[in-house]
Symmetry: C2
Subunit: 212 residues, 2 copies
Protein backbone atom coordinates (compact mmCIF):
# COMPACT_ATOMS: atom_id res chain seq x y z
CA UNK A 1 0.00 0.00 0.00
CA UNK A 2 2.81 2.28 0.98
CA UNK A 3 4.74 1.70 -2.25
CA UNK A 4 1.70 2.11 -4.46
CA UNK A 5 1.01 5.35 -2.68
CA UNK A 6 4.52 6.62 -3.42
CA UNK A 7 4.39 5.52 -7.08
CA UNK A 8 1.29 7.54 -7.53
CA UNK A 9 3.13 10.54 -6.26
CA UNK A 10 6.04 9.97 -8.65
CA UNK A 11 4.68 12.60 -10.99
CA UNK A 12 6.90 15.00 -9.09
CA UNK A 13 10.24 14.55 -7.46
CA UNK A 14 9.65 13.51 -3.92
CA UNK A 15 9.83 9.67 -4.20
CA UNK A 16 13.45 9.20 -3.29
CA UNK A 17 13.05 11.66 -0.47
CA UNK A 18 10.05 9.89 1.01
CA UNK A 19 11.54 6.43 0.54
CA UNK A 20 14.80 7.49 2.14
CA UNK A 21 12.84 9.14 4.87
CA UNK A 22 10.73 6.08 5.56
CA UNK A 23 13.78 3.79 5.52
CA UNK A 24 15.49 6.22 7.83
CA UNK A 25 12.52 6.54 10.13
CA UNK A 26 11.87 2.82 10.55
CA UNK A 27 15.23 1.35 11.59
CA UNK A 28 16.27 3.53 14.55
CA UNK A 29 13.85 2.01 17.12
CA UNK A 30 15.01 -1.51 16.16
CA UNK A 31 18.64 -0.55 16.48
CA UNK A 32 17.96 1.15 19.77
CA UNK A 33 16.11 -1.89 21.10
CA UNK A 34 18.95 -4.16 20.03
CA UNK A 35 21.55 -1.99 21.68
CA UNK A 36 19.45 -1.89 24.85
CA UNK A 37 19.08 -5.66 24.97
CA UNK A 38 22.76 -6.31 24.37
CA UNK A 39 23.77 -3.99 27.20
CA UNK A 40 21.17 -5.19 29.69
CA UNK A 41 20.92 -8.94 29.00
CA UNK A 42 24.25 -10.05 30.53
CA UNK A 43 23.56 -8.07 33.69
CA UNK A 44 20.13 -9.62 34.25
CA UNK A 45 21.48 -13.02 33.31
CA UNK A 46 24.38 -12.80 35.76
CA UNK A 47 22.09 -11.59 38.49
CA UNK A 48 19.75 -14.51 37.87
CA UNK A 49 22.67 -16.92 37.85
CA UNK A 50 23.71 -15.57 41.24
CA UNK A 51 20.21 -16.21 42.54
CA UNK A 52 20.38 -19.72 41.09
CA UNK A 53 23.65 -20.41 42.91
CA UNK A 54 22.14 -19.15 46.20
CA UNK A 55 19.16 -21.41 45.53
CA UNK A 56 21.47 -24.39 44.98
CA UNK A 57 23.46 -23.78 48.19
CA UNK A 58 20.26 -23.35 50.21
CA UNK A 59 18.96 -26.59 48.75
CA UNK A 60 22.09 -28.46 49.87
CA UNK A 61 21.68 -27.04 53.39
CA UNK A 62 17.99 -27.99 53.41
CA UNK A 63 18.83 -31.56 52.31
CA UNK A 64 21.27 -31.84 55.21
CA UNK A 65 18.73 -30.48 57.69
CA UNK A 66 15.82 -32.60 56.44
CA UNK A 67 17.76 -35.85 56.32
CA UNK A 68 19.36 -35.11 59.70
CA UNK A 69 15.90 -34.60 61.17
CA UNK A 70 14.51 -37.78 59.62
CA UNK A 71 17.46 -39.99 60.56
CA UNK A 72 17.86 -38.55 64.07
CA UNK A 73 14.21 -39.26 64.75
CA UNK A 74 14.15 -42.58 62.92
CA UNK A 75 17.23 -44.17 64.42
CA UNK A 76 16.72 -43.11 68.02
CA UNK A 77 15.57 -45.74 70.41
CA UNK A 78 16.41 -46.00 74.03
CA UNK A 79 16.08 -49.04 76.19
CA UNK A 80 16.07 -48.57 79.91
CA UNK A 81 18.53 -50.74 81.82
CA UNK A 82 15.84 -52.14 84.11
CA UNK A 83 12.78 -54.20 83.27
CA UNK A 84 9.96 -56.01 84.99
CA UNK A 85 8.87 -59.57 84.38
CA UNK A 86 6.32 -58.63 81.71
CA UNK A 87 7.56 -55.41 80.33
CA UNK A 88 10.72 -53.87 79.02
CA UNK A 89 10.89 -50.11 78.94
CA UNK A 90 11.82 -48.94 75.52
CA UNK A 91 11.21 -45.69 73.65
CA UNK A 92 11.03 -45.64 69.88
CA UNK A 93 9.70 -43.30 67.22
CA UNK A 94 7.16 -45.96 66.28
CA UNK A 95 5.42 -45.57 69.61
CA UNK A 96 3.96 -42.21 68.72
CA UNK A 97 2.14 -41.57 65.42
CA UNK A 98 3.25 -37.93 65.45
CA UNK A 99 6.88 -39.07 65.35
CA UNK A 100 6.14 -41.53 62.54
CA UNK A 101 4.56 -38.72 60.52
CA UNK A 102 7.59 -36.59 61.33
CA UNK A 103 10.00 -39.18 59.91
CA UNK A 104 7.89 -39.71 56.77
CA UNK A 105 7.39 -35.99 56.07
CA UNK A 106 11.05 -35.10 56.58
CA UNK A 107 12.22 -38.04 54.47
CA UNK A 108 9.81 -36.95 51.73
CA UNK A 109 11.11 -33.37 51.91
CA UNK A 110 14.70 -34.64 51.73
CA UNK A 111 13.93 -36.88 48.76
CA UNK A 112 12.16 -34.04 46.94
CA UNK A 113 15.13 -31.75 47.58
CA UNK A 114 17.56 -34.31 46.15
CA UNK A 115 15.35 -34.72 43.07
CA UNK A 116 15.07 -30.93 42.69
CA UNK A 117 18.85 -30.44 42.49
CA UNK A 118 19.07 -31.08 38.70
CA UNK A 119 16.38 -28.47 38.11
CA UNK A 120 18.23 -26.03 40.35
CA UNK A 121 21.39 -26.63 38.28
CA UNK A 122 19.32 -26.11 35.12
CA UNK A 123 18.25 -22.71 36.50
CA UNK A 124 21.93 -21.78 36.96
CA UNK A 125 22.99 -22.94 33.48
CA UNK A 126 19.96 -21.51 31.67
CA UNK A 127 18.68 -18.64 33.80
CA UNK A 128 15.99 -17.77 31.28
CA UNK A 129 14.03 -21.01 31.54
CA UNK A 130 11.09 -19.94 33.65
CA UNK A 131 9.28 -23.31 33.65
CA UNK A 132 11.79 -25.07 35.91
CA UNK A 133 11.91 -22.09 38.25
CA UNK A 134 8.11 -21.98 38.46
CA UNK A 135 7.94 -25.73 39.14
CA UNK A 136 10.47 -25.41 41.97
CA UNK A 137 8.48 -22.49 43.41
CA UNK A 138 5.23 -24.49 43.44
CA UNK A 139 6.76 -27.60 45.01
CA UNK A 140 8.73 -25.59 47.58
CA UNK A 141 5.52 -23.81 48.54
CA UNK A 142 3.82 -27.18 49.04
CA UNK A 143 6.76 -28.43 51.11
CA UNK A 144 6.59 -25.52 53.58
CA UNK A 145 3.31 -26.53 55.29
CA UNK A 146 4.22 -30.24 55.08
CA UNK A 147 7.48 -29.83 57.00
CA UNK A 148 5.95 -27.24 59.35
CA UNK A 149 3.07 -29.58 60.18
CA UNK A 150 5.44 -32.47 60.89
CA UNK A 151 7.72 -30.32 63.03
CA UNK A 152 4.94 -28.73 65.05
CA UNK A 153 3.10 -32.03 65.62
CA UNK A 154 6.33 -33.56 66.91
CA UNK A 155 7.14 -30.43 68.91
CA UNK A 156 3.87 -30.57 70.82
CA UNK A 157 4.56 -34.21 71.75
CA UNK A 158 8.15 -33.42 72.69
CA UNK A 159 6.96 -30.59 74.91
CA UNK A 160 4.58 -33.02 76.57
CA UNK A 161 7.36 -35.57 77.03
CA UNK A 162 9.59 -32.95 78.61
CA UNK A 163 7.06 -31.28 80.89
CA UNK A 164 4.20 -33.74 81.22
CA UNK A 165 0.73 -32.51 82.01
CA UNK A 166 -0.69 -32.67 85.48
CA UNK A 167 -4.27 -31.92 84.36
CA UNK A 168 -4.38 -34.86 81.99
CA UNK A 169 -2.23 -36.95 84.34
CA UNK A 170 0.42 -37.47 81.68
CA UNK A 171 3.86 -38.00 83.18
CA UNK A 172 7.03 -36.43 81.79
CA UNK A 173 8.67 -39.47 80.24
CA UNK A 174 11.87 -37.53 79.61
CA UNK A 175 12.87 -38.14 83.22
CA UNK A 176 13.41 -41.75 82.28
CA UNK A 177 14.15 -41.49 78.57
CA UNK A 178 16.49 -38.54 78.76
CA UNK A 179 18.76 -39.52 75.88
CA UNK A 180 15.80 -40.27 73.60
CA UNK A 181 14.21 -36.91 74.37
CA UNK A 182 17.36 -34.97 73.64
CA UNK A 183 17.83 -36.52 70.22
CA UNK A 184 14.16 -36.08 69.38
CA UNK A 185 14.33 -32.40 70.37
CA UNK A 186 17.33 -31.99 68.09
CA UNK A 187 15.40 -33.58 65.24
CA UNK A 188 12.50 -31.16 65.77
CA UNK A 189 14.86 -28.20 65.69
CA UNK A 190 16.44 -29.51 62.46
CA UNK A 191 12.98 -29.87 60.95
CA UNK A 192 12.05 -26.28 61.80
CA UNK A 193 15.33 -25.16 60.19
CA UNK A 194 14.32 -27.12 57.07
CA UNK A 195 10.96 -25.32 57.01
CA UNK A 196 12.73 -21.96 57.34
CA UNK A 197 15.09 -22.83 54.47
CA UNK A 198 12.08 -23.75 52.33
CA UNK A 199 10.55 -20.34 53.04
CA UNK A 200 13.81 -18.65 51.95
CA UNK A 201 13.87 -20.86 48.82
CA UNK A 202 10.33 -19.74 47.95
CA UNK A 203 11.38 -16.10 48.36
CA UNK A 204 14.46 -16.61 46.16
CA UNK A 205 12.39 -18.28 43.43
CA UNK A 206 9.79 -15.52 43.60
CA UNK A 207 12.44 -12.82 43.23
CA UNK A 208 14.04 -14.70 40.32
CA UNK A 209 10.66 -14.96 38.58
CA UNK A 210 9.78 -11.31 39.24
CA UNK A 211 12.67 -9.95 37.13
CA UNK A 212 11.75 -11.05 33.66
CA UNK B 1 -7.91 13.36 7.45
CA UNK B 2 -8.08 11.03 4.48
CA UNK B 3 -10.09 13.52 2.52
CA UNK B 4 -7.61 16.33 3.21
CA UNK B 5 -4.85 14.06 1.97
CA UNK B 6 -6.59 13.43 -1.33
CA UNK B 7 -7.25 17.11 -1.84
CA UNK B 8 -3.61 17.88 -1.22
CA UNK B 9 -2.43 15.22 -3.62
CA UNK B 10 -4.45 16.78 -6.34
CA UNK B 11 -2.61 20.06 -5.80
CA UNK B 12 0.59 18.45 -7.05
CA UNK B 13 2.80 19.88 -4.37
CA UNK B 14 5.34 17.39 -3.02
CA UNK B 15 6.13 18.65 0.47
CA UNK B 16 2.68 18.27 2.01
CA UNK B 17 2.57 14.76 0.55
CA UNK B 18 5.48 13.60 2.66
CA UNK B 19 4.04 15.22 5.74
CA UNK B 20 0.66 13.67 5.06
CA UNK B 21 2.42 10.37 4.54
CA UNK B 22 4.19 10.49 7.84
CA UNK B 23 0.95 11.45 9.56
CA UNK B 24 -0.72 8.61 7.74
CA UNK B 25 1.99 6.08 8.57
CA UNK B 26 2.09 6.88 12.24
CA UNK B 27 -1.55 6.52 13.33
CA UNK B 28 -2.39 2.98 12.11
CA UNK B 29 -0.43 1.11 14.84
CA UNK B 30 -1.98 3.27 17.53
CA UNK B 31 -5.45 2.75 16.14
CA UNK B 32 -4.81 -0.97 15.84
CA UNK B 33 -3.50 -1.15 19.39
CA UNK B 34 -6.50 0.79 20.64
CA UNK B 35 -8.90 -1.47 18.82
CA UNK B 36 -7.10 -4.51 20.24
CA UNK B 37 -7.19 -3.19 23.77
CA UNK B 38 -10.85 -2.26 23.59
CA UNK B 39 -11.77 -5.73 22.43
CA UNK B 40 -9.54 -7.57 24.88
CA UNK B 41 -9.56 -5.36 27.99
CA UNK B 42 -13.15 -6.01 29.13
CA UNK B 43 -12.66 -9.77 28.76
CA UNK B 44 -9.50 -9.85 30.88
CA UNK B 45 -11.03 -7.39 33.32
CA UNK B 46 -14.21 -9.42 33.70
CA UNK B 47 -12.23 -12.59 34.15
CA UNK B 48 -10.14 -10.95 36.85
CA UNK B 49 -13.24 -9.58 38.51
CA UNK B 50 -14.65 -13.11 38.59
CA UNK B 51 -11.48 -14.33 40.28
CA UNK B 52 -11.78 -11.46 42.75
CA UNK B 53 -15.34 -12.45 43.62
CA UNK B 54 -14.25 -16.08 44.12
CA UNK B 55 -11.44 -14.77 46.33
CA UNK B 56 -13.92 -12.74 48.38
CA UNK B 57 -16.31 -15.68 48.89
CA UNK B 58 -13.43 -17.98 49.88
CA UNK B 59 -12.24 -15.37 52.35
CA UNK B 60 -15.69 -15.23 54.00
CA UNK B 61 -15.69 -19.04 54.28
CA UNK B 62 -12.16 -18.98 55.72
CA UNK B 63 -13.18 -16.34 58.29
CA UNK B 64 -16.05 -18.57 59.39
CA UNK B 65 -13.80 -21.62 59.64
CA UNK B 66 -10.96 -19.85 61.46
CA UNK B 67 -13.18 -18.11 64.00
CA UNK B 68 -15.22 -21.29 64.53
CA UNK B 69 -11.99 -23.17 65.25
CA UNK B 70 -10.71 -20.51 67.64
CA UNK B 71 -13.96 -20.08 69.54
CA UNK B 72 -14.76 -23.80 69.68
CA UNK B 73 -11.34 -24.45 71.18
CA UNK B 74 -11.34 -21.36 73.38
CA UNK B 75 -14.76 -21.68 74.95
CA UNK B 76 -14.75 -25.41 75.61
CA UNK B 77 -14.25 -26.53 79.13
CA UNK B 78 -15.68 -29.56 80.76
CA UNK B 79 -16.03 -30.20 84.43
CA UNK B 80 -16.56 -33.73 85.56
CA UNK B 81 -19.52 -34.26 87.88
CA UNK B 82 -17.45 -35.97 90.54
CA UNK B 83 -14.55 -34.62 92.57
CA UNK B 84 -12.28 -35.65 95.38
CA UNK B 85 -11.55 -33.68 98.48
CA UNK B 86 -8.51 -31.92 96.98
CA UNK B 87 -9.10 -31.95 93.31
CA UNK B 88 -11.78 -31.13 90.83
CA UNK B 89 -11.51 -32.68 87.40
CA UNK B 90 -11.73 -30.03 84.76
CA UNK B 91 -10.49 -29.85 81.18
CA UNK B 92 -9.72 -26.52 79.56
CA UNK B 93 -7.75 -25.32 76.56
CA UNK B 94 -5.37 -23.56 78.93
CA UNK B 95 -4.16 -26.88 80.27
CA UNK B 96 -2.23 -27.71 77.13
CA UNK B 97 0.15 -25.24 75.45
CA UNK B 98 -0.57 -26.73 72.03
CA UNK B 99 -4.24 -25.79 72.42
CA UNK B 100 -3.32 -22.27 73.55
CA UNK B 101 -1.16 -21.86 70.45
CA UNK B 102 -4.06 -23.23 68.40
CA UNK B 103 -6.45 -20.58 69.72
CA UNK B 104 -3.95 -17.77 69.19
CA UNK B 105 -2.97 -18.84 65.66
CA UNK B 106 -6.55 -19.31 64.50
CA UNK B 107 -7.66 -16.03 66.03
CA UNK B 108 -4.76 -14.30 64.27
CA UNK B 109 -5.71 -15.92 60.97
CA UNK B 110 -9.33 -14.85 61.44
CA UNK B 111 -8.34 -11.29 62.30
CA UNK B 112 -6.03 -11.09 59.29
CA UNK B 113 -8.82 -12.40 57.05
CA UNK B 114 -11.24 -9.75 58.31
CA UNK B 115 -8.62 -7.05 57.72
CA UNK B 116 -7.93 -8.41 54.23
CA UNK B 117 -11.56 -8.10 53.12
CA UNK B 118 -11.26 -4.41 52.04
CA UNK B 119 -8.26 -5.31 49.88
CA UNK B 120 -10.18 -8.19 48.37
CA UNK B 121 -13.03 -5.79 47.53
CA UNK B 122 -10.46 -3.39 46.05
CA UNK B 123 -9.29 -6.23 43.78
CA UNK B 124 -12.88 -6.71 42.57
CA UNK B 125 -13.51 -3.00 41.96
CA UNK B 126 -10.10 -2.30 40.40
CA UNK B 127 -8.90 -5.61 38.94
CA UNK B 128 -5.76 -4.02 37.51
CA UNK B 129 -4.21 -2.97 40.81
CA UNK B 130 -1.53 -5.62 41.22
CA UNK B 131 -0.09 -4.30 44.49
CA UNK B 132 -3.07 -5.27 46.65
CA UNK B 133 -3.25 -8.67 44.98
CA UNK B 134 0.47 -9.27 45.56
CA UNK B 135 0.15 -8.24 49.21
CA UNK B 136 -2.74 -10.66 49.73
CA UNK B 137 -0.72 -13.42 48.06
CA UNK B 138 2.27 -12.88 50.36
CA UNK B 139 0.21 -12.74 53.56
CA UNK B 140 -1.91 -15.75 52.56
CA UNK B 141 1.26 -17.70 51.89
CA UNK B 142 2.52 -16.80 55.37
CA UNK B 143 -0.81 -17.82 56.91
CA UNK B 144 -0.74 -21.34 55.40
CA UNK B 145 2.10 -22.72 57.55
CA UNK B 146 0.88 -20.81 60.60
CA UNK B 147 -2.58 -22.38 60.54
CA UNK B 148 -1.19 -25.76 59.49
CA UNK B 149 1.28 -25.75 62.38
CA UNK B 150 -1.45 -24.88 64.88
CA UNK B 151 -3.82 -27.50 63.51
CA UNK B 152 -1.25 -30.29 63.41
CA UNK B 153 0.14 -29.52 66.87
CA UNK B 154 -3.38 -29.68 68.28
CA UNK B 155 -4.19 -32.75 66.20
CA UNK B 156 -1.30 -34.72 67.65
CA UNK B 157 -2.49 -33.88 71.18
CA UNK B 158 -6.10 -34.71 70.30
CA UNK B 159 -5.00 -38.05 68.90
CA UNK B 160 -3.16 -38.71 72.15
CA UNK B 161 -6.21 -37.72 74.18
CA UNK B 162 -8.40 -40.07 72.15
CA UNK B 163 -6.10 -43.09 72.04
CA UNK B 164 -3.59 -42.57 74.81
CA UNK B 165 -0.19 -44.16 74.60
CA UNK B 166 0.64 -47.31 76.47
CA UNK B 167 4.39 -47.01 75.87
CA UNK B 168 4.60 -43.61 77.52
CA UNK B 169 1.92 -44.58 80.05
CA UNK B 170 -0.34 -41.71 78.95
CA UNK B 171 -4.00 -42.46 79.51
CA UNK B 172 -6.73 -41.61 77.01
CA UNK B 173 -8.41 -38.73 78.80
CA UNK B 174 -11.27 -38.70 76.29
CA UNK B 175 -12.86 -41.57 78.21
CA UNK B 176 -13.61 -39.09 80.95
CA UNK B 177 -13.71 -35.81 79.03
CA UNK B 178 -15.76 -37.03 76.10
CA UNK B 179 -17.62 -33.81 75.40
CA UNK B 180 -14.43 -31.75 75.59
CA UNK B 181 -12.64 -34.08 73.16
CA UNK B 182 -15.43 -33.97 70.64
CA UNK B 183 -15.51 -30.19 70.49
CA UNK B 184 -11.73 -30.01 70.32
CA UNK B 185 -11.68 -32.49 67.44
CA UNK B 186 -14.22 -30.35 65.63
CA UNK B 187 -12.03 -27.30 66.15
CA UNK B 188 -9.02 -29.12 64.67
CA UNK B 189 -11.03 -30.12 61.61
CA UNK B 190 -12.20 -26.52 61.16
CA UNK B 191 -8.61 -25.36 61.39
CA UNK B 192 -7.48 -27.79 58.70
CA UNK B 193 -10.32 -26.53 56.50
CA UNK B 194 -9.04 -22.99 57.08
CA UNK B 195 -5.55 -24.06 55.98
CA UNK B 196 -7.01 -25.67 52.85
CA UNK B 197 -8.97 -22.50 52.04
CA UNK B 198 -5.77 -20.47 52.42
CA UNK B 199 -4.04 -22.77 49.91
CA UNK B 200 -6.90 -22.23 47.44
CA UNK B 201 -6.70 -18.44 48.06
CA UNK B 202 -2.98 -18.52 47.25
CA UNK B 203 -3.71 -20.39 44.02
CA UNK B 204 -6.45 -17.91 43.04
CA UNK B 205 -4.16 -14.93 43.69
CA UNK B 206 -1.34 -16.56 41.74
CA UNK B 207 -3.63 -17.16 38.73
CA UNK B 208 -4.94 -13.58 38.93
CA UNK B 209 -1.38 -12.23 38.96
CA UNK B 210 -0.23 -14.51 36.14
CA UNK B 211 -2.58 -12.95 33.55
CA UNK B 212 -1.26 -9.46 33.22
Amino acid sequence: MDSSNSTKETGDIPIPVTSSKSSKAAPPPVVAAKAKSTTKQPLVSGWKRGLGIIDFILRICAIAAALAAATAMGTTSQQLPFFTQFFQFKADYNDLPAFTFFVIANAMAGAYLVLSLPFSILCIVRPHILGARLMLLVFDTVAVPLVTAAASAAASIVYLAHNGNSDANWVAICRQFNDFCQRVSGAVVASFITALLFVVLVAVSAVALRQK
